[in-house]
Amino acid sequence: MSVIRSFKASDMFKFNNVNLDVWTETYNIGFYLHYLSRWPDLCCVQEAPSGRMMGYVIGKAEGQGSEWHGHVTAITVAPEYRRLSLARKMMSLLELVSDETYRGFFVDLYVRCNNLVAIDMYEGMGYSVYRRVREYYGNLGVGKGGRDEEDAFDMRKPLSRDSARRSVRSNGRDIVVSAHDVS
């Protein structure tokens, strides 16, 4: 339960309670403005009834031909609002817009291979591992996750336009590519 609304440039003044969390990066202003000037409908905010920001998602549409898809660039929820299924709601909105507005074939996202909680959650939403990307993330300097911490799973979920489910595969975890092979 929360207010879902579009992300506005001035939300950058309000997102501290979300961004001071260690897992959330604060990018330069150009990053947010770039997304908003291209895909404003793929960027949304969840807000508590009090007006406090709870989390947000920033996405884009990209790819050529049958690779045309919606991509989740950043999704985050402030610590005090976790375990309220907020991420799930933001994801379904992004899927809806990727499907109906952009007519993409699938939605994809990257997640650290050691982030089991998140992987479980995405699998629960219908995402599956498409490939493993070597050394996609820099080391955070926290914990000793080894390879699983630096590698990412590229997870995908087909949309209605991909009725033949060509954008997913069952052996994705075994397909390894290096970071410069992906955009």
């Binding site: 929360s2 001071l20 202003i29 009090s50």
Partner: protein
């Protein structure tokens, strides 16, 4: 361009791209030897010069290229960067205008001309360019550019109100004349709806919204749906909107809280709000009618809450909001329902972190309700065996604390509360034993609660030992939960209160504040930071912190504008007003200029006060003075669990109990502009001639600069501490006294300009643009008028120093370090402003020519007193610092803290106390050193 030339130009671009400005200049010079007239190379050299900070030389080249009226892409592009770097947006427009006129079929040039106008917020011309482009190229987008420009002009605060409707009507006419409907494109549709809303053309908007395309857009586009919602509200169709929302909730499983609010708004749509009193209540008939509506909504939300259970809070929270509104309207039928719902909510969602925040709007209970509610909370078992139980206990504490009444807030009661929170904190801590270091501990909020109680205890009796207790506990909690930024923020505030700025700064740096956060969060460390500045002693930590945090404003002015243009290119009209707003809020940020002033106040303590500093700062301050500030500071980020009848944590922990707002900024700006403009030779005439770039527009209603400087408003002064207030009166007295003498001695504009021209020519080898004055006289000019009669120094000046001396003694004796530092820095500032005001009268020749001997004699006793007071404070601070670090003092504090728990060991307490006392010692020593340096520098 020939291939050979092209090959020669490549390295220039490479050098520019890699930031090697100097080698770019060398490369340009090489090519210019062979092709002295090449406009592109000239433009590139100008660009390199701008980036290399050689503005005067760049200006010359820049003007040459502009005169040649270039039309090729590369030259225009290079010039665009040059002109942006120089802030000459108007020249950019002229340049593109000329080029586009020469090649009216060049679409790219048209677009660039449009963008140049957008950069300068020149909406009227932008609109004309777009209109011309539409005629020429017949692209729908240009029609929309035109419409958008009209809307932006209407929104511009310089546009007269009566023009607004006309502009909106114009924009509407453009959109309706387009060959394709706006609904082919969600952002065009958004713009169309915005215009209709502004014109209150609700019926037309509804027609659009009800087309299949319109419905579709609102289904997937949140921004359009928001406008749709607004439109429904504005036209008073709350009931319809409520029905629609109900449908969405039921059929689509939508749990957007906005839909629930729409249902509730719809329920109460035709009921006027009860304002209390005998006649205000609704009639019995109306009540009946509403009770059926309410019971419909009631059963809708009840079903949802049963169906969703613990999965979603909307249903139950909707019921709470519904009852809350029913009570406010005086149509509630069940006196215990609210309480019952709150209880239910606490039972079901009491183990969620957001429970307190969710219930907060409904907590203002009284009498029996409050008693019953308190009972519910007290009945909550304070178990700490599971994560859920801990969260529930935390929520019950937060909820009860909110409603504590004055009799319940005695020192003893607060002490026992803190003890309870701490013991529960320690008891629950092992639950999170295995959490990775990146996770927050489950019990963090218990430590935050205890810390808040300690701060409240300090506030109640002024006993500083409670601040030490808070620090020890919060540091312990932070060592167990390294990422708990809320705890860190609380610590920053408390360390500053304790006079330990360097420890506060260490914590601040660990927050890794970046980018735009520098605007919203730097107040934690920069608010009144000159109080702790050791710049006079050569320690530039805080001044560089000011500079670093101000970088974001440079990025904003360089980058944000680009995205407005990108949004035009990508036709994302919904974003354009937002981007402009964002840029404006950041450009005119209140914190930006608070930082600027703090920086200046510190700068004059460590740099020699010279005409260079005075002139440059004066120009900048005058710019700042014309800004309409926006406050972006984030205070909400601090947790607040203080009772509702008590000041919130933010207010409690503000340095000197005062937050700087617009009034503070204006008060200091006025003082500094007065002093600096008297001390400077820059008159308006000189400034006009010499300034590069466009000036901000000022409404003539505000009056002349002089009138605005003279005005001191009560509300402005209310934001100042008593000592800052004394400083302001002191500067007013000082400037009033010396103004006539400054005006008499200041050289006329012609002499100043001639001087500048001479220097520029020496530096660049070229004459100064736009200044053609031959110096008629060398050096000082004797004026025709007589020297104004010499007047006595106002008593206020001497009184200020005497009064501050007494106040300093008192603060020192009371052991109030921060206050002592505050007074010392204010006296130092007053003294330096006196130095600034009297520099002009320093040279013996000036005194002689203008017969100012008697005036200068009057400076002496003031200066001597200033020095004497500064010296006394130096000695006092030195002696304070020797007492600071002694082991007895530390032991006293450790004992006062009285933590006997085995969990928080003696060594770490000792460590924390040592850090605080080291930091206090450092600031005392450093301040003493700085003051004594200033005395030495300015004693003679």
């Amino acid at each position: 361009m020939s291939v050979a030339l092209d090959r020669q130009i490549r390295p220039i671009y490479d050098a520019l791209d890699t930031g090697s400005h100097k080698s770019a200049i060398t490369e340009c010079n090489k090519v210019l030897k062979k092709h002295p007239k090449n406009a592109l190379v000239k433009a590139l050299k100008a660009l390199a010069l701008v980036r290399y900070q050689k503005v005067e030389e760049a200006l010359v080249l820049c003007d040459e290229v502009l005169e040649s009226k270039p039309t090729d892409d590369s030259t225009l592009n290079a010039m665009m960067h040059v002109l942006r770097g120089l802030g000459r947006h108007k020249d950019m427009i002229t340049m593109y205008d000329a080029a586009y006129k020469k090649q009216p079929t060049n679409e790219e040039l048209g677009a660039q001309t449009f963008f140049a106008n957008v950069r300068a917020s020149n909406w009227k011309s932008a609109q004309q360019v777009a209109s011309k482009m539409y005629k020429q190229f017949q692209e729908d987008r240009y029609l929309y550019w035109n419409a958008m420009s009209n809307v932006l002009q209407a929104n511009d605060h310089n546009t007269p109100v009566e023009m607004r409707t006309l502009l909106y009507k114009l924009a509407l006419r453009l959109i309706t004349s387009a060959p394709t409907p706006s609904s082919v494109h969600s952002d065009r549709f958004h713009l169309h709806l915005t215009i209709l809303r502004e014109l209150s053309e609700y019926d037309e908007a509804m027609t659009l919204l009800e087309t299949p395309a319109g419905r579709n857009i609102c289904e997937t586009n949140l921004a359009c749906n928001e406008i749709r919602r607004n439109l429904m509200r504005s036209r008073g169709a709350l009931e319809d909107e409520g029905k629609r929302a109900e449908q969405r909730i039921l059929e689509k499983g939508d749990r957007n809280w906005l839909e629930f609010l729409s249902v509730i708004d719809g329920t109460f749509a035709s009921l006027p709000e009860s304002k209390g009193g005998a006649h205000a209540g609704p009639s019995e008939d109306a009540k009946e009618q509403f009770s059926s509506k309410i019971s419909n909504t009631l059963s809708l939300f009840t079903n949802i809450s049963v169906q969703d259970g613990r999965k979603d809070r909307s249903g139950l929270l909707g019921l709470l909001e519904l009852e809350h509104r029913a009570r406010r309207h005086g149509v509630s039928t069940d006196s215990v329902r609210l309480l019952h719902l709150m209880k239910q909510y606490f039972e079901i969602f009491g183990d969620k972190a957001c429970c307190f925040e969710d219930l907060k709007p409904y907590l203002n209970l009284e009498g029996n309700d409050l008693a019953a509610w308190t009972e519910v909370l007290q009945a909550c078992p304070s178990s700490l065996s599971t994560v859920e139980a801990v969260q529930r206990t935390i929520n019950s504490h937060k909820l009860s604390r909110y409603n504590l009444s004055a009799p319940e807030l005695t020192v003893d009661a607060e002490i026992s509360r803190a003890a309870l929170y701490i013991s529960q904190y320690l008891e629950g801590l092992p639950l999170g034993r295995d959490l990775p270091t990146t996770e927050l501990q489950y019990v963090d909020d218990l430590a935050i609660l205890a810390g808040s109680v300690f701060v409240n205890l300090w506030k109640m009796g002024g006993d500083i030992k409670y601040l030490y207790k808070a620090v020890v506990l919060l540091e312990f909690a932070l060592s167990k939960s390294e990422q708990a930024f809320q705890i860190r923020l609380m610590l920053i505030r408390i360390y500053r209160l304790l006079g330990a700025p360097s420890v506060a700064l260490e914590h601040y740096r660990l927050l890794r504040i970046k980018q735009v956060q520098n605007d919203t969060l730097s107040h934690f460390i920069l608010s009144r930071c000159s109080t702790f500045s050791l710049a006079a002693s050569g320690d530039l930590t805080l001044t560089s912190e000011c500079l670093e945090s101000s970088q974001i404003y440079v990025s904003n002015s360089q980058e944000t504008n680009d995205y407005v243009i990108r949004a035009f290119s990508a036709e994302k009209y919904s974003q354009i007003p937002q981007f402009i707003l964002f840029e404006d809020w950041l450009e005119n940020s209140l914190q930006r200029d608070i930082t600027k002033l703090e920086y200046l106040r510190m700068r004059i303590t460590h740099e020699a006060i010279s005409s260079d500093i005075i002139d440059l700062e004066l120009i900048e301050l005058k710019f700042v003075f014309d800004r309409l500030h926006h406050d972006n500071r984030d205070f909400e980020i601090l947790p607040n669990y203080q009772p509702k009848n008590v000041e919130d944590f933010n207010t409690q922990t503000l340095l000197f109990g005062k937050s700087e707002g617009h009034g503070w900024v204006w008060s200091f700006l006025k003082s500094y502009i007065k002093v600096f403009s008297q001390a400077s030779d820059l008159s308006d005439v000189v400034e006009e001639k010499l300034l590069v770039g466009d000036r901000p527009q000022i409404s003539p209603k505000l009056g002349s600069l002089k009138e605005r400087l003279a005005r001191r408003e009560k509300e402005e002064m209310a934001e100042l501490t008593p000592d800052e207030l004394s400083l302001i009166s002191y500067t007013d007295a000082l400037t009033e006294w010396l103004e006539p003498f400054h005006d008499h001695v200041r050289p006329p504009a012609s002499v100043v300009l001639a001087d500048v021209a001479k220097n520029t020519e020496l530096k660049t080898g070229l004459p100064l643009r736009g200044v053609d004055i031959t110096p008629s006289l060398n050096g000082h000019v004797k004026k025709e008028e007589e020297t104004p009669p010499i007047t006595d120094a106002p008593e206020d000046l001497i009184k200020f120093f005497e009064n501050m001396k007494t106040r300093f003694e008192a603060a020192k004796n009371a052991g109030h370090l921060n206050e002592a530092l505050h007074i010392a820095t204010i006296v130092q500032e007053a003294f330096l402003l006196f130095v600034t005001e009297t520099i002009r009268f320093k040279p013996a020749s000036v005194v002689k020519i203008h017969k100012l001997g008697n005036l200068v004699a009057k400076f002496k006793p003031i200066r001597a007193l200033g020095i004497a007071v500064l010296k006394e404070m130096t000695i006092a601070l030195e002696s304070m610092s020797t007492q600071e670090g002694t082991s007895e003092r530390r032991r006293e504090f450790v004992d006062a803290c009285g933590f006997e728990s085995s969990e928080i060991d003696h060594d770490s307490i000792m460590n924390i106390i040592k850090r605080v006392s080291d930091s206090r010692k450092k600031v005392e020593e450093g301040m003493a050193k700085g003051l004594s340096r200033i005395c030495t520098t300015y004693e003679q």
